[in-house]
Each structure stands twice: as structure tokens, then as C-alpha cells.
């Protein structure tokens, strides 16, 4: 992986590794609650903010009237393991379809792939979470098929077996699927995809492609 | 360690505010112990037994001695094994949660103890053995009858009938009382020319001298360790140290330190458990106080045991084993 020489400005570099932001390890104090808000990889104790994992210290200012957020970033695969949380955007693969729900396996959380695949996290998309309108007229087989890759959002932690996922937004839904002839499908409309080879059309609940 | 109660945030705040001002929910001061009831000699079929009860915590301890061979690597010592069992009434759904339950059910467990409470009980037994039976309190050489040939195997079985805070303390008190109550029968080992050839199970000829056991309790010798240390557990609640916690206080305690103290107030072992870290200066203060508190506890125990009489079974009307 090539790292751009000037990715990190001079005044923010770590003194041992100039291509990275300052490196922190768990337990190092990185700020005070009066100056920063806690982001990912940070915990607060008695008014001070401490790092909770190994990574680069990143300070982001998103809103001018709020305090900047300090977080510990870990880029790439060496990053910390990801666990689905409420509100996270996940990519999941459909394993089973029933009239009222779709079972799937979660493959990545917020763009980070799940590293341990021995016992993957499971998710279900219930009938009422597929799309926000005309819920009583949904036919599951016209929205998803087994082995489709779906972009969904975690609605809740669900029960002991699976998380509850939802595709009830425009940019959520099937992102990649294979047609009955085995070739990739290309998105046409919100509810239709076309095989790249045979040009046959198949119904799916399609995610709006980002431009 | 084994706390069963879950407190609402308001109850927790009430408890913590009380501790900050130096008193607890049941009116005790931070250093006060609850009264204990100790009974000995309640299981006649064992060599020694005791039962310790205090406001819900109920521990039964039985000591059985067997004659066996000394271990191969230590031929002049006996064997003492401590075994703890938690009854099903202690663990709802048959699963024991290790660690304070104040952090909901998040816990760190050993790989093998995930499935049942067995691993946790085994750990408690090993911990008790380490804390209360160190070499300076118990000389295992005194348990040897004839080096390389015969030695006493002492099995201390502790049954936790009900846990309501202060479990390690109660268990160590029970073990101390039961071992004080134990008498080792007097044994005479036959001389060399009386040895018999004996066929053991795997066909190997092994010669062992015969031995004679005098079962009369008056002929026996008391157990060779009369000063088994007693554990005192202190919990850290909002930077204050609280002694002899009830189960509600245990679920509020961030960390717990258990100190084993002998009759002279000497600390012979220390062990920390719990979710938070403790400060070294606080720990030193705990060690100082532990000596004092432990001595008080042992004095009261000795006084009560003296009233019971030495080794003679107390004859009184028994209402039933589980009756108060």
C-alpha cells in the first residue's frame, strides 16, 4: 500500500513515523472534556479523555459551534475489529428468504470488513423494513434472492440470534446480484436489474447508486 | 465475587452516598462485621464439620481424612485438597456469573467455565487453598504417617448453600472451624517383618505394611494446623473501603481485596478481584486494617468455640438440619 508523502501536514506528524498522525496506545491521555468530544476509540474518565486502542490520533471539527471530536483512527485491516451497532450501514449477503423475512450474514460494517468469519453476525430484514410504502403488497422474492449482496442499516440489536436490518431508504437495497444465468446484474430502476450478458430483467429492491 | 442482586440506579446512588458519609444501608459503620453463627460437629459421619451462617450467606464445610500414599515428588508430606461446590440454589438457571454484576452481564470468563458453574467453583477452591492453606500455616509434613508409604489425604469439601455477600470470608471461617473440629485418628504402622505381599489392581506386586487405626475420638490427635488464616474481604465503593459487604454492596463495589489473616494479625495472603483498578496507597491502608479486623474476628470465633467445649459433641434439641 503506497502512502502519499504529504498525506499528513508537518505540524501534525508523529515524531517517529512522519507519514502518520501522532500514534497513541491505550491509556494515553489525549484531551480534556472541556476541549474535545469523545469519538471512536476514546473513553472518558474523571473529565479526561484517554485512548482505548492503538492507532492515530485524529481531531475533526465538523460543526463550528460544537467542540472538535478527537478519535483514534486505525486505517485498513490492522484496524480494530468491527461490531455492528445501531445505525451502522452494513453490507450483508442474503442466505434465506421466507415470506415475512430475509436472513442474511453481515460481511462489513461501515466499510470495514468483518475479519473473523468463523461465526459471522446474522441479520434479518423483516417485511415491514424492506421499503417504507405499500408494505402489504411486498413479495419477498421480487425484492431479494439468495446470495445477493445488500446494503442495509442496523435498526436494532435484535434478539440473541440476529440483528434487525432495514433497507427502507432509497440508497439501501441490493448492490450486487447474479442473474439466473450466473452473470452480474446491472441496476436499471429502483425495482429492476438487467443481466449484463443476456439482457434479461429481474426484479429486485435496488439501492440507488451513489454518483 | 458472587453477587446476585441487581440494583436500580437510584438504589445504587443511595448506597454510595451513604458510604461517602460513613454508614451503610443496615446501619453498620464501614468497618463493622455482621454477626456470624458457627456450628461444628453437625455431620457425624465426617472427621470434622462446620456450618457458618450470616444474614443469608450459608456455608457448610466437611472434612474427611483417608489413609493413602504420599505424592511421588513429596514423599514426606500429606495431601490436602479443597473442593468447593455451589448448590443450584445459588446460581439461577444453573449458570454462575463470575465477577460483579454491576456492569450488566458483561463479564470475562475462563474458556471452560462458560458452560457451567463448575469451573468457577474449582477456581474458588484453588483460591481458598492458596490463600488459607499456605505452607506457613499448614505443615504438610505433619500429615505424613510413614514416609514413602502412608500419609493422610485430607479432603475439605465446602458447600455453598446460599450466597449473600462475603462468601470467601464465610468459607474460610467454615474451613478453620471444621479443621479445628477434626481429629486425626491415631495410627500404628506394622513393622518391617510384618509386611505382606499385596496384589494391586494392575498386577504389580507391591508390599505395604499393615496399619491399625484407633477409631476412638479420645485417642486421636487434633489436626496439626490450629491457626488456619481467615479471609477478610474489603470492597472499594467510591474510593472508600467497606468491610464485610452484603450482596447489594458487592454489586456496587468497583474492586474487592481479600486478605488472609492469622491469629496474630499477620497477613499471609492477599488477592484482588473486581472490575476496577486500585491505588497502591489504598492497598497499604487495607493491609494495616485487615490485620486488626482479622484478629478481632478470630478472637470472637475462638471465644465462641471455647464455649462449645473441646471436641465433645454438644447435645441439644435439634429441630432439623435446615432449621434456624
Amino acid at each position: 500500500m503506497e502512502v502519499d508523502e504529504q498525506r499528513v501536514p508537518e505540524d501534525e506528524q508523529d515524531k517517529d513515523f512522519p507519514q502518520l498522525l501522532p500514534l497513541v496506545t491505550p491509556g494515553e491521555r489525549i484531551g480534556h472534556v472541556s476541549a474535545y468530544r469523545a469519538g471512536a476509540g476514546v473513553y472518558e474518565r474523571r473529565g479526561h479523555l484517554y485512548a482505548s486502542k492503538v492507532g492515530e490520533k485524529l481531531i475533526e471539527q465538523d460543526d463550528s459551534n460544537q467542540l472538535p471530536v478527537v478519535s483514534v483512527e486505525t486505517a485498513g485491516l490492522s484496524g480494530s475489529p468491527s461490531v455492528p451497532f445501531t445505525g451502522a450501514t452494513v453490507l450483508a449477503q442474503v442466505t434465506r428468504i421466507s415470506p415475512r423475512r430475509v436472513d442474511c450474514i453481515i460481511l462489513s460494517v461501515e466499510g470495514r470488513p468483518i475479519r473473523d468469519t468463523s461465526n459471522p453476525y446474522k441479520g434479518i430484514i423483516r417485511l415491514q423494513d424492506v421499503r417504507p410504502f405499500e408494505i402489504d403488497q411486498i413479495d419477498m422474492l421480487e425484492c431479494f434472492r439468495p446470495t445477493d449482496i445488500v446494503k442495509a442499516k442496523v435498526v436494532s440489536l435484535g434478539d440473541s440470534r440476529s440483528f434487525h436490518l432495514s433497507t427502507a431508504e432509497q440508497d439501501l437495497g441490493v448492490v450486487f446480484a447474479k442473474s439466473t444465468s450466473g452473470h452480474p446484474l446491472v441496476a436499471l430502476k429502483w425495482n429492476e436489474m438487467e443481466c449484463s450478458k443476456t439482457k434479461e430483467r429481474e426484479p429486485r429492491k435496488v439501492a440507488k447508486p451513489s454518483d | 465475587m458472587l453477587s446476585q442482586s441487581t440494583l436500580s440506579p437510584a438504589e445504587r446512588r443511595f448506597l454510595e452516598d451513604g458510604v461517602r458519609q460513613g454508614f451503610r444501608n443496615d446501619g453498620r459503620g464501614l468497618l463493622d462485621y455482621r454477626p456470624y453463627t458457627v456450628e461444628t460437629g453437625i455431620l457425624p459421619s465426617t472427621s470434622g464439620s462446620s456450618r457458618v451462617r450470616s444474614f443469608g450467606t450459608d456455608v457448610l464445610c466437611a472434612v474427611k481424612v483417608d489413609m493413602g500414599s504420599p505424592p511421588a515428588d513429596k514423599p514426606d508430606e500429606g495431601v490436602v485438597s479443597v473442593n468447593v461446590e455451589c448448590s443450584a440454589s445459588v446460581a439461577p438457571h444453573g449458570e454462575l456469573e463470575g465477577g460483579s454484576s454491576s456492569r450488566a452481564t458483561g463479564r470475562v470468563g475462563g474458556g471452560r467455565r462458560d458452560d457451567s458453574g463448575e469451573g468457577w467453583s474449582a477456581y474458588l477452591g484453588a483460591l481458598l487453598d492458596d490463600l488459607c492453606l499456605p505452607p506457613c500455616a499448614l505443615d504438610k509434613k505433619a500429615l505424613c504417617v510413614s514416609p514413602h508409604v502412608y500419609a493422610w489425604h485430607v479432603n475439605v469439601d465446602i458447600l455453598l448453600l446460599n450466597a449473600a455477600g462475603g462468601v470467601l470470608d464465610a468459607m474460610s471461617l467454615a474451613m478453620r472451624s471444621a479443621l479445628r473440629d477434626t481429629t486425626l485418628p491415631s495410627v500404628s504402622v506394622g513393622s518391617r517383618d510384618e509386611w505382606e505381599e499385596e496384589d494391586t489392581a494392575d498386577g504389580v506386586q507391591q508390599s505395604k505394611p499393615p496399619f491399625d487405626v484407633d477409631e476412638r475420638p479420645t485417642a486421636g490427635t487434633p489436626f496439626p494446623a490450629q491457626d488456619i488464616p481467615v479471609c477478610v474481604t474489603v470492597g472499594q465503593v467510591c474510593s472508600h473501603y467497606v468491610w464485610d459487604m452484603s450482596s447489594e454492596e458487592e454489586s456496587c463495589a468497583e474492586a474487592q481485596v481479600t486478605v488472609a489473616v492469622d491469629r496474630n494479625g499477620r497477613c499471609v495472603a492477599v488477592h484482588k478481584s473486581g472490575m476496577a483498578s486500585i491505588d497502591p496507597t489504598g492497598l497499604l491502608q487495607v493491609l494495616k486494617d485487615a490485620g486488626r479486623v482479622g484478629v478481632e474476628l478470630i478472637k470472637k470465633l475462638e471465644a465462641a468455640m471455647a464455649k462449645l467445649g473441646t471436641g465433645q459433641p454438644v447435645v441439644r434439641e435439634r429441630l432439623g438440619f435446615m432449621a434456624a
Partner: protein
């Protein structure tokens, strides 16, 4: 016929353990306070999410972290995660082939209690994290070596922890000198020294785990007759020094490993070990 009449001898049979007093040295040439050489390495097991190898003297411990993954037990529905620690002695780790199950269980119980206060389990909802540790060779100080290996592996795996924690084992005993009984403080015993002093009860031992940023004690287990406040203070002070030194090395090791994974070149040509 005694089955155990042959056993491979270590290449150099060490002399009987002695304690250093005055100008004399311990049997392996160290002073009383010296800790044996330490070597640590992250990432030896590439299939695990995080792994670490820790060696002190000849004692070697290897730890790996798997997860977080979905909990297989259906009964578990909690907003907090669970961490399982498993410890095993390799069959060749100790000279005699005895069953180590009891000792393994005891160590696992103590390590689990210790790491309860360190890993932020509430950030891993509905998940279980498995940490395994294998002792490859036991030459004394196994508990602290495993503790350090697990701590390094967990940090390498990116598990959220409150601090880098390290552990060490310290001992003290009374040694008769010309005038009176003197208390001698020893750091880090080898297996031969442990066999000589610990089992007879002469020695007081204390295993301490310290959170290296704030010097608070996250793990403590001690047995012996010399646990009065004076000796305890000395032991804890020395423990803090040793743990901080190990912690500093661990942090450097973790930062170097992270930088290497990002293919970032170090600032100077001198290698940071």
C-alpha cells in the same frame, strides 16, 4: 520399575539457586532486583485477529485473540460482550509430563479476574471474544508472562482497553545474615529458584499487574508470611518500576507494528525495537 528413569536434561545444568547478598550474585549472574531479558513480538499468528509472543528468560508464552464474533450460545442476549480466556501448557513445557489441568484452571481464573477491569466489554454488544494462551516453556514467572502476552495480543487486536497493563512477580524472604534476619527482595525467579524456595514456604510471593499510565493496580495476588505493610510497600514500589519499563517497551512495539502495517517508514534509520 520406575517409568520416569530418563528425562532429557537441559543442555547446561544450572548450579543450585543462591540469593545475592552483599556482593555475591544469584546463580545465573543476576542481582536480586534484576529481571531476566525480555523479548516480545506482535503478530506471530496471522490467522488470528491479534496475537503476541512474550518471552522472559526461558519462559515463553504465546497468545492469540479471536473475535469479536456472534455468541454461539443462544441464551446470551446482552448489551455487553463476553471475553473467554483459555490457557494451556504445551505438553513439553514442563520437564515432567504431569497433568496441568488444575494449574491451568487456576491461572485462567486469575487472568479472567484481572482482565475484567481492563477490556471495555460494553462496546462489544452481543459478541464474544476468545483469547487463548499457550505456555511453550515454563522456567518460572508463568503467570506474569501469560498476563503480558494476553495484554499485548489484545492491544494488537485492537480491542478497546483502558490501558496497557503489564505484570511481574516479586518475592521476598528472610535470610539469616551475620547479625540478624534480613529481608531480601527478589525479582523474577526461575523455575529452579521457585522449586527451591517457594514450595517450602520460606518465600513470600506477590504477583502484581499494573495499569502503566496511571500506576493503579489491576491485578494482585500474594501469599506468604511477609505481607506486612512495610514489605508490601517495597514490593509494590519495585513492581511499579518493572511494570512501567515493560509497558514502555510494549507501547514502542505496538506503535512500530502499527506503522509497519501502514508501510510507513520510521523517521530515522536507527531501528526502534
Amino acid at each position: 520399575m520406575d517409568a520416569a528413569t530418563y528425562r532429557p536434561l537441559p543442555p547446561d545444568v544450572p548450579p543450585a539457586p543462591t540469593v545475592s547478598f552483599g556482593a555475591a550474585e544469584r546463580s545465573d549472574g543476576r542481582t536480586n532486583e534484576d529481571v531476566r531479558d525480555i523479548e516480545m513480538q506482535t503478530g506471530p499468528i496471522s490467522s488470528a485477529v491479534g496475537s503476541a509472543f512474550f518471552q522472559i528468560g526461558k519462559t515463553k508464552a504465546l497468545s492469540a485473540v479471536y473475535g469479536p464474533r456472534q455468541s454461539m450460545r443462544q441464551a446470551r442476549t446482552s448489551s455487553s460482550g463476553a471475553v473467554n480466556i483459555d490457557l494451556k501448557f504445551a505438553p513439553f513445557a514442563v520437564p515432567s509430563r504431569t497433568s496441568m489441568a488444575e494449574r491451568e484452571r487456576y491461572l485462567v481464573g486469575m487472568l479472567s479476574e484481572a482482565f475484567e477491569s481492563i477490556i471495555l466489554v460494553e462496546r462489544y454488544a452481543k459478541s464474544v471474544i476468545d483469547i487463548t494462551c499457550i505456555v511453550l516453556e515454563d522456567d518460572g514467572g508463568v503467570l506474569s508472562a501469560c498476563f503480558n502476552a494476553i495484554s499485548l495480543a489484545a492491544a494488537h487486536a485492537g480491542l478497546e482497553m483502558t490501558d496497557i497493563v503489564t505484570a511481574t512477580s516479586l518475592y521476598c524472604m528472610e535470610v539469616p545474615s551475620d547479625t540478624s534476619q534480613n529481608v531480601v527482595y527478589l525479582s523474577d525467579l526461575t523455575a529452579a529458584e521457585e522449586a527451591c524456595w517457594l514450595s517450602s514456604g520460606q518465600c513470600t510471593e506477590m504477583h502484581v499487574g499494573i495499569a502503566t499510565s496511571g500506576s493503579s493496580i489491576c491485578f494482585l495476588h500474594g501469599t506468604g508470611s511477609l505481607l506486612n505493610p512495610t514489605c508490601a510497600e517495597q514490593l509494590l514500589g519495585r513492581a511499579e518500576e518493572i511494570c512501567r519499563a515493560i509497558g514502555k517497551e510494549m507501547r514502542a512495539c505496538l506503535k512500530a507494528a502499527y506503522a509497519a502495517s501502514q508501510n510507513a517508514a520510521p523517521a530515522k534509520t536507527t531501528a526502534t525495537e
